[in-house]
Amino acid sequence: MKEFKPLIIGFTCNWCTYAGADLAGTSRVQYPPSIRLIRVMCSGRVSPEFILEAFKNGADGVLIGGCHPGDCHYLRGNYMALRRFLLLRRLLREMGIEPERLRLEWISAAEGGRFAEIVKEFTEQIRKLGPSPLKSGALRRL
């Protein structure tokens, strides 16, 4: 069997988590090459549609990264992200996708090490869960 290489799509806000990931790079902190980031201005921008699209097309995990509570560059966008995240986890379970495949993390611009740790840990978790059940294309009609 081919080795399972998890694919995680990360939606990260420009001000905190994307900058934190930049810092991980400039500090040369190493983490698994499983994640691909999509930069948005705020975690509040992340539509449920994006997450469902990612899973529908076979992503093994999705990470939403925003500023810590109270630190949102746009006052409260991260709270919007939190609300959608909680609802989406329930929705995913209904759809037969393990809710643990969706994660929301608050990572500040100064937390490069934490970003790397989270990617490491999340990758491990996904590896244990195995490939997304949607990889087979069973639910691609969605």
Binding site: I9, Y18, V46, A110, E111
Partner: protein, 662 residues
């Protein structure tokens, strides 16, 4: 304007993979990545080059735009937070709209963090470029928005950093509001006796600057005031400041001091670190600015003797009914100069601070040696008021210690050398021993000062002190330490021990961080936008840093940084206008059902649903919209989207990673 596929005007994309010397090419095969896009749909040209941001690199892009009639450009290099502006400018110079550019961050997010996984890094880099190309294909030209700038600044903090920044800006002709939380400006420098290594009298060099602040026609001083909230953006901040009640009218008080003389209440004086006393109605110190008294309501017994005394002087300055007052300020730029707090040495229990009266901090020593301090400048030990004959200094208390603060506080070595010199100067026979790990005397004239203090007979023992013990009868102290140069354990008795406590961020840094939406580094100090190239800017345009708010530093560095912050702040203030990114929300009225979800979600009130001929429709006020996209994340009909981060663009990025992969 409809967003979506109909706008993909036969894209002609140029793809450029930067080697960044070996930063990228050392891990990623850039040639191979470029090769992978040679026949990619819509890509006209795909190249790799050693340094894309260099002048020839940028020329290469410009030439190709003309030669191949490119209408989209993708550069795979460093973070867009670093060089997106560079390349936007580059393509604009070749006649393209600057927003028809996309960057793939294959350095910070690929080669630098997957250094030892070349194959996987290559795959990831190709994925990242594919995402960028798919987004670029769907990019639309945008016009930037220019907004006017309020030509005023606010400086938070009235220590030497804030004073320097405020004076510089005021001298340039800008109105400056200085907000200081204490009843006086001057900060920590006003408490010092001398400054190293020149031994200038601290208040003699700072005092005139404090007076300049009070007298400057362009500076409005809000002392005893705190910033409660900050809204808006560069050029257009709206700040709320709470003025705490002094219970003494600033305009009435002439600082005669009659009130203090009659006040019957005495409490420990925080300006003397609690070593001396002050009255309930007081002025922090004689050089305080503004030179106005205030009442400490927590200790005041409301006997009103001071009211009588004030009236006898023909004035009526005291008002017990004074209330806190909220002030609103409009400013274009903000400078954060909030300084530091001293590390709390009670946390270093082995040194006995707080339990042994003769163990004091460096700042307490500063007050003891200061002529304006509680002992009139005579160093006396707290337990019995006798002059100490043997004094130990313990370095790095709280600093350079992974279980306390990892960083070096940068000023304690020199402060201790200064204190040692002052003891020797006042009484050459005093035995002075400094326990240190490394002595860092790196500034101009500092090493020379170190040598001078050595020659004065101060003894230096290299080692971290393990314990300070007290003889309860004499209150003398025994310092135990391994002399790491001789390898021997030393135990020595002293009359007084001075702890060189380090610097920490002030306790209210978190509140200010949240109000300003700026970041702090793991050490807790405010984070600059770039450690080398943007040392006084923050990630938030229009907010600048200086002094120890940004990290421990001495007075010369603080003053230099304050002038730098003022110079940076003056850029938008003197330009009179700033260009704001045109990344705002956009409504497709065909799809909008007027459900008002976006209106309720917008944190800025930038969306209003209005009645039109075709029913209720959401409208965006572009000047108010900050571009977060929370509305488009919530819109149930996909009617509202963000320019430059449209649904179509983001969905295309997702598909670029997934479709056809399995």
């Amino acid at each position: 304007m409809a967003q979506g596929t109909n706008h993909e005007d036969s894209p002609r994309i140029g793809v450029y993979i930067c080697h960044c010397g070996l930063n990228i090419a050392g891990v990623i095969d850039c040639e191979k990545v470029a090769e992978a896009f040679k026949d990619y749909p819509g890509v006209v040209v795909s190249k790799d080059y050693r340094y894309m941001c260099s002048d020839p690199g940028q020329e290469l892009i410009k030439e190709d735009i003309r030669k191949y009639n490119l209408n989209r450009v993708v550069v795979a290099a460093c973070s867009p937070r670093m060089h997106e502006p560079t390349f936007r400018k580059c393509i604009a110079e070749a006649g393209l709209n600057p927003y028809l550019f996309e960057m793939a961050n294959i350095r910070e997010m690929c080669s630098w963090c997957h250094t030892h996984q070349r194959e996987a890094a290559n795959e990831k880099a190709i994925d990242m470029v594919r995402m960028a190309v798919e987004k670029a294909r769907r990019l639309q030209p945008l016009e930037t928005i220019e907004v006017p700038v309020t030509p005023k600044a606010m400086v938070i903090g009235g220590g030497v950093a804030g004073i320097q920044a405020a004076l510089d800006l005021a001298d340039m002709g800008f109105k400056v509001y200085m907000v200081e939380k204490s009843p006086t400006i001057g900060g920590k420098m006003a408490l010092l006796d001398k400054t190293f290594p020149t031994l200038d009298c601290s208040i003699c060099i700072l005092g005139p600057k404090m007076v300049d602040v009070a007298r400057h026609p362009n500076i409005e001083l809000l002392s005893y005031s705190e910033v409660t909230s900050v809204d808006g953006f560069i050029g257009n901040f709206k700040v709320k400041v709470l003025k705490k009640p002094r219970y003494v009218k600033e305009e009435e008080c002439n600082a005669c001091g009659a009130c203090t003389e009659v006040c019957p209440v005495e409490v420990p004086n925080e300006w003397d670190m609690g070593l001396g006393v002050r009255k309930a109605i007081y002025r922090p110190f004689p050089q305080a600015v503004p030179s106005v008294f205030l009442i400490d309501k927590d200790s005041c017994i409301e006997c009103e003797s001071c009211v009588e005394a004030c009236r006898e002087q023909g004035r009526d300055a005291i008002d017990f009914n004074m209330k806190p007052e909220e002030v609103e300020l409009d400013v274009g730029a903000i400078i954060v100069a909030t300084g530091f707090d001293l590390y709390d040495p009670t946390k270093a229990r082995e040194y006995g601070y707080g339990r042994y009266p003769n163990v004091i901090t460096n700042l307490e020593f500063e007050r003891l040696v200061n002529a304006a301090g509680p002992t009139g400048g005579v160093v006396l030990r707290p337990s019995d008021g006798r002059p100490p004959r043997r004094v130990a200094f313990i370095q790095c208390v709280g600093s350079r210690n992974v279980s306390a603060r990892e960083y070096c506080s940068r000023i304690c070595c020199m402060a201790t050398l200064k204190h040692a010199h002052q003891l020797k100067e006042k009484s050459p026979s005093t035995e002075v021993v400094v326990f240190y790990m490394d002595l860092r005397s790196f500034g101009k004239g500092y090493e020379e000062f170190y040598r001078r203090v050595q020659e004065e007979g101060v003894r230096f023992i290299r080692g971290r002190v393990s314990k300070v013990l007290e003889n309860p009868d004499t209150h003398n102290l025994v310092v135990r330490c391994e002399d790491t140069l001789s390898g021997e354990i030393v135990e020595m008795e002293f009359d007084m021990v001075v702890l060189a406590a380090g610097l920490t961020p002030p306790s209210d840094a978190e509140h200010l961080q949240k109000a300003l939406k700026i970041s702090r580094s793991p050490d807790g100090f405010f984070l600059e936008a770039h450690p080398k190239l943007r040392p006084v800017e923050t990630h938030v345009p229009g907010i600048y840093l200086c002094g120890t708010a940004q990290g421990p530093k001495d007075i010369p560095d603080t003053v230099a940084q304050a002038s730098a912050a003022a110079a940076q702040a003056s850029i938008p203030l003197s330009a009179g206008k700033v260009v704001v990114e045109p990344i705002t929300a956009q409504v497709n009225e065909e799809l909008c059902g007027g459900c008002r979800i976006c209106e309720s979600i917008c944190a800025y009130g930038a969306i209003a649903v209005v009645e039109t001929e075709r029913g209720a429709k959401a409208r965006v006020h572009e000047a108010i919209c900050q571009g977060c996209g929370a509305c488009s994340g919530a819109c149930p009909s996909g009617a509202i989207t963000m320019k430059h981060f449209t649904d179509t663009q983001i969905l295309a990025q997702i598909r670029a990673l997934t479709v056809g992969r399995w």
